[in-house]
């Protein structure tokens, strides 16, 4: 066999396996007859296969729990007084841009869904937004956290609504935690000089999501003139499993803490390799999508002391209004699937309720009317704590606002896993943030 043939074949297969995003052109849009038959078709775009399948399955299963609840309560009341039942149709984006494009197109053109819910990876979701824009189908994004989802100007995003905190909001929140809580703990334990900067390292997925976190941290430090020094900023490819080289460089920079912008299948090995292989005994701060049962299982003892920014956890809930609602949701989910939902599952559960509420308010499944109903929406919070206890979308970029919190993990040797406790803000915390006994502070030398 000639080299050239083999090389061409290798490159073709590599191209097919590694990336690729085929844009499918929209054809004609058929009106939905679903609602006239007493059925509202809700399309759920989730990563049922591929690297993000753990989170994707939680999203899809949570949507099922929501639909069960809405339907058992009588369904959605339409303008003519009739009741319509929710019918979910799932589209597997296969954790790839091409898969997402196929799933969105099929749900819209073949299944003729009335509304869409879901979307996890920002890179995947942004790849098929063009299709959403062309067909003008209301889409409640419940997982992809990059602000570009609704901020981009190259396409019409007016039918897309963002029901999860963006990297801007949680990046800023986590950086504020570092400045206030971590600084206080460091000063207390090590009696540092008042002007000593916190030495922070970033390890981020090289995608819209990871770069969004990187931008948010840099902007927060600059705009608020925080005394935080970014001593290392390392990136990795989505789906990577070996992080030792980047962690070696981070350790050489002597950080006080490392902020990870990673998915759960990346975050758990990062922390394990850092503590086990590199000896990087520091505080690891994780993005909210890691509040996932598998993440706790994979971390084992290496998760001790780590921080997760969160708004819903399988293992802890803040006291107050949403505690009972979260508990009921978790129990319903556990009864149906024998495991616990994760955070992206929680927002997808709410996404189905939001869609149902908007269709109910519009009194029809007409997509323009449903979009208007989503713009005007003001509904009570469901299971996650929202600003003003209300779900609504901002007039500029159609983003809802969440109350966030920070959790710290402690190891439970009996079950061989860590469990979280809320340590910030003060009105929600159940425990104080502490520096573990093995923690090593950074130094400039």
């Amino acid at each position: 066999m000639k080299y050239s043939t083999l090389v061409i074949a290798v490159l073709l297969v590599a191209a097919a396996l590694i990336a690729g995003c085929s844009q499918q052109q929209a054809t004609t849009q058929q009106p939905s007859a679903a609602s006239s038959q007493g059925i509202i078709k809700v399309g759920v775009i989730a990563s049922l296969t591929g690297p993000a399948s753990n989170v994707g399955n939680s999203m899809w299963q949570s949507a099922q729990v929501a639909a069960d609840k809405i339907n058992s309560d009588g369904g959605v009341t339409l303008k003519d007084g009739s009741k319509a039942q929710i019918k979910l149709i799932v589209g597997d984006d296969e954790s790839t841009q091409q898969g997402g494009q196929t799933a969105a197109t099929k749900l819209i053109t073949d299944d003729k869904v009335d509304i869409l819910v879901g979307g996890y990876s920002s890179a995947v979701t942004s790849a098929y937004e063009q299709t959403i824009a062309e067909y003008k189908v209301p889409y409640i994004v419940t997982g992809a956290s990059s602000p570009i989802i609704t901020h981009r100007t190259d396409i019409d995003t007016s039918y897309i609504f963002h029901h999860c905190p963006t990297t801007d909001s949680y990046g800023q929140y986590t950086t504020t935690f570092i400045d206030q809580v971590l600084r206080s703990a460091l000063d207390k334990k090590f009696s540092f000089a008042a002007d000593r900067p916190i030495r922070l390292a970033l390890l981020y997925q090289d995608t819209a999501f990871g770069k969004g976190v990187q931008t948010a941290v840099n902007n927060t430090i600059t705009n608020n003139k925080l005394n935080i020094q970014l001593v290392a900023q390392q990136s990795f490819k989505m789906g990577e499993s070996d992080f030792r080289t980047q962690l070696t460089l981070i350790k050489a920079a002597n950080p006080d803490a490392v902020y990870l912008a990673a998915f759960p299948n990346e975050g758990a090995p990062i922390i394990t390799q850092a503590r086990r292989d590199i000896g990087l005994n520091t505080i690891f701060l994780n993005v909210e999508n890691n509040d996932n049962a598998q993440f706790y299982k994979d971390l084992g003892q290496y998760g001790e002391g780590a921080i997760i920014e969160s708004r819903f956890s399988p293992y802890v809930a803040p006291t107050g209004a949403v505690a009972d609602a979260q508990s009921t949701f978790k129990q319903s989910y556990f009864t149906k699937f024998r495991t616990y939902p994760d955070m992206m599952g929680a927002s997808t559960y709410e996404g189905v309720f939001i869609g149902a509420q908007a269709i109910g308010n519009a009194g029809t499944t007409d997509k323009t009317a449903v979009r208007q109903a989503l713009v005007a929406l003001k509904m009570p919070q469901v299971i996650e704590a929202m600003k003003d206890k209300t779900i609504s979308f901002s007039p500029d970029y159609r983003e809802s606002s969440f109350d966030l919190w920070m959790e710290q993990l402690s190891y439970n040797a009996t079950i061989g896993e860590t469990r979280p406790a809320i340590v910030w803000p003060d009105n929600l915390k159940t425990s104080d943030f502490t520096l573990p006994s093995w923690y090593v502070a950074g130094s400039s030398s």
Partner: protein, 292 residues
Amino acid sequence: MDTLGIFLQIIFWGLYAGCIYILLATGLNLIFGVMKIVNFAHGEFLMIGAYITATVFFLTGINPYLIILLSMLALIGIGAVIERFCFRPILGTGKLNEIFLSIGLIYIFQNGAAMIWGDSWQSVKSPYDGITVPVGSLSVPLDYILIMLFTAVILCGLYLFLKKTTIGMQMRATSQNRKGAMLVGINVERIDIISFGLGCALAAAGGTLWVVSGQVFNPYMGSIPAVKAFAIIILGGLGSIPGAIIGGLLMGLAENGAAVLLGGIWKDAISFVILIVALVVRPTGLFGEKGE
């Protein structure tokens, strides 16, 4: 940590990564050398080896390093079946058939594994998890030393098998001249099936070592390593076992070097940069011969 310490540490991670690539690429080269077939599904044998190791470990609690033998034996059997019922019927019918067959096998193996084991990522903790040993100025995990040792032992075993046994010599003869081997009475179909099985067993060994290193795995883990293995054998020279070994080590080092100098996203892309440079500078690869 000083600059030299960082450099040595990154070299070490590169050598460790190279071990997995060597096993994968050597298996691929063994198959290509004897049968001259292109199997893009070779990475899926790495994946199956990983799952067999994890499953036996979860069920029995046996030291996962010991499961490497079971994993290799199982893949010899699976490889033999694949060779007999998939590749042999299309042998000699054109490279396009081999390519599309192997792409089909990728999806069959991935979906089959997802049906059996689920498609969530998993990981296994080695019994030596957390134990480090001093190597010069470095303190490195015992598991990585063991992984390098196991790789070296497997390669030495393969070398002795090819050099000292009758079947090994028949494999080399078939690799050098298939028609000549048939003329002197070698049953080349038997050699094909043994070569394919052995190549799969080497991939399975890579899968086991992947698992014991604590890296996460799922049914889709094999695709990218397989593409890298192809880049390695083109770099090292098609059909050349020493080329696969040197190429694998270079690939591991280059990946980690690229992560330092160019950023983490270049870890995979550097494979193809090396491939292109090798083709321009030395089209036959480091250890290849003209006309191979």
